[in-house]
């Protein structure tokens, strides 16, 4: 039986191997990402987040170790396209990944490349547009959209391929708060309603708190891993790793320390409000 998951075993990646400026970006990573999961990856600049992401759809190959996507090794040259269809990718800058002159053409681009019939193509484009809630912009020109809308188009282009995994590398870094919420809402919906596995790289702790599992990378290794409420309560370790704690969690920890009966595992404003209502 083919196992439906991404399996990473002893993955190391070294840039400029055997040269003077050799850098170990990933150092012996072992990890499994099950279908339907929502995993976020955090870590300081240069911790290996993007390098790891690029291994998931063969943009980079391991220097040593292996990755299997649904049982297919990414080193298998004949299966590269199969893997890339399975693992969609969305990058930071929406302007760099939009290729066509209308929204629907842009979403259809990947489908055209794999030779899908026109009928199926229309169906999938419409479905993807509906999922990202952009139907009314079908005929619009992408460059006239806002940043958040452009990112949603990029996401639609990836899911139109019927990928089971979606890797997003800081998709909200260039967006304003409104655009961020827009994109985050769509991602949660993809995960919960369409059962698409999400691998989400971010610098924003509030966003990572939305996932099921947080992986903290440091110098190419996994420093912490677990449910967000477990990871974010390790304030000292996170600060040492140059990371932050969501404001609400920090507040919960401080108030808990002062003797208030507030769970230190508080991640959401709503939970905090409920606790505080008992006191003030």
């Amino acid at each position: 039986m083919v196992s439906i998951l991404i399996k990473i075993k002893n993955l190391s990646h070294i840039y400029h191997l055997h040269k003077k400026n050799q850098i170990t970006a990933l150092d012996n990573i072992t990890l499994e990402i099950k279908k339907g999961d929502f995993v976020s990856i955090i870590g300081s600049n240069g911790s290996g987040k993007s390098t790891l992401a690029k291994h998931l759809n063969c943009l980079l190959l391991p220097t040593s170790g292996d990755i299997w996507v649904n049982g297919i090794n990414t080193k298998d040259k004949d299966k590269v396209w199969e893997i890339r269809q399975e693992v969609g990718m969305v990058f930071q800058n929406p302007d760099n990944q939009i290729v066509a002159t209308t929204v629907e053409d842009d979403i259809a681009f990947g489908l055209e490349n794999i030779g899908v019939s026109e009928e199926v193509m229309k169906e999938r484009v419409n479905w993807a547009l509906q999922v990202v809630e952009m139907e009314e912009y079908k005929k619009s020109e992408p460059h006239l959209l806002s940043g958040g809308q452009k990112q949603r188009i990029a996401i639609a282009g990836a899911i139109a391929m019927h990928s089971s995994y979606l890797v997003l590398d800081e998709p909200t870094a260039m967006l304003d708060p409104h655009g961020r919420t827009e994109v985050m809402d769509i991602i949660k919906k993809l995960n919960q309603e369409e059962n698409i596995t999400i691998i989400y790289i971010t610098h924003l702790m509030e966003e990572a708190a939305e996932s099921n599992r947080v992986i903290v990378l440091d110098k190419g290794r996994i420093a912490l891993m677990g449910r967000p409420e477990k990871v974010f309560t390790q304030v000292e370790t996170l600060k040492k790793l140059k990371l932050d704690v969501p404001q609400i969690t920090e507040l919960a920890l401080r108030l808990n320390d002062k003797g208030l009966d507030i769970s230190p595992y508080t991640l959401k404003v709503e939970e905090m409000v409920d606790y505080l209502c008992l006191y003030v």
Binding site: M174, D176, H203, K242, K258, G259, Y279, V280
Partner: protein, 291 residues
Amino acid sequence: MFICLENVDFTYNLHMPFETKALKGINLKINEGEFIGIIGHTGCGKTTLIQHFNGLLKPTYGKVYVEGLDINERGVNLRLIRQKVGLVFQYPENQLFEETIFQEVAFGPKKLGLSDEKIEKRVREALKMVDLDYNFYAERSPFSLSGGEMRRVALASILSIRPKMLVLDEPTANLDPQGRNKILSEIKEIHNNFGITVVLVSHNMEKIAEIVDRLLVMHRGEIILDGLPREIFEKYADDLIKVGLGLPQVTRCMHELKAKGKEIYTGVLTVEDAEKEILVRVKRFNKQLKI
């Protein structure tokens, strides 16, 4: 007064099919020594506005004065204006081009025609301001640095011109939390120690609101709010949400408590503020609690 904008309008592609009004009737006064933050939705005109401060853009209508001088009048020495108002663009690390960090930071002073001795002094001074050790960094290539360090080198290369005013467009975009905090605390120190007027543009409002003395909120080409960060967060939370800005988590928490009829001060910006405010209230309502 250092900078004064009077009824400034700016339109991109004027009289063309894609004409877009980016600024509408802006009136703004910036005094020497102020520390100002500008926040707003993408496309609200923040970047267009700051490009008026040193004459990179000329208003379609209205006037811009720097130290009382109308900078768009014929014959004004714009070079001099740009020495006074140093602009650090978005992703300034993309503008690095020299072989060593020394050369990079020395570029501005060299163009000012200073002697080698003075140039070195300025480079040392500027690197110190951004907390980069001269001996360790001067001869290294700027391209061997981390993103945060590159950004600080870019900042140093503006500081070496000794501007009276520093304008930074999204200085924290794409940095990890530590890099973000470091560059902001350096900017704050530069402001405190050297009295340089600072304008920070960002949509990461949590950190910005914490360090600036005055906050401007822009929406669709207009300045809709102008005041103390605390006051804006306390009284205009709804307006901020309406223009797509949202609130920091702790501020939102206080507003939601207030909406539930709790008596609480909502002008909090930091976790420390929130903690203090909550403890005061808790003590008042639960006298038996020992905290």
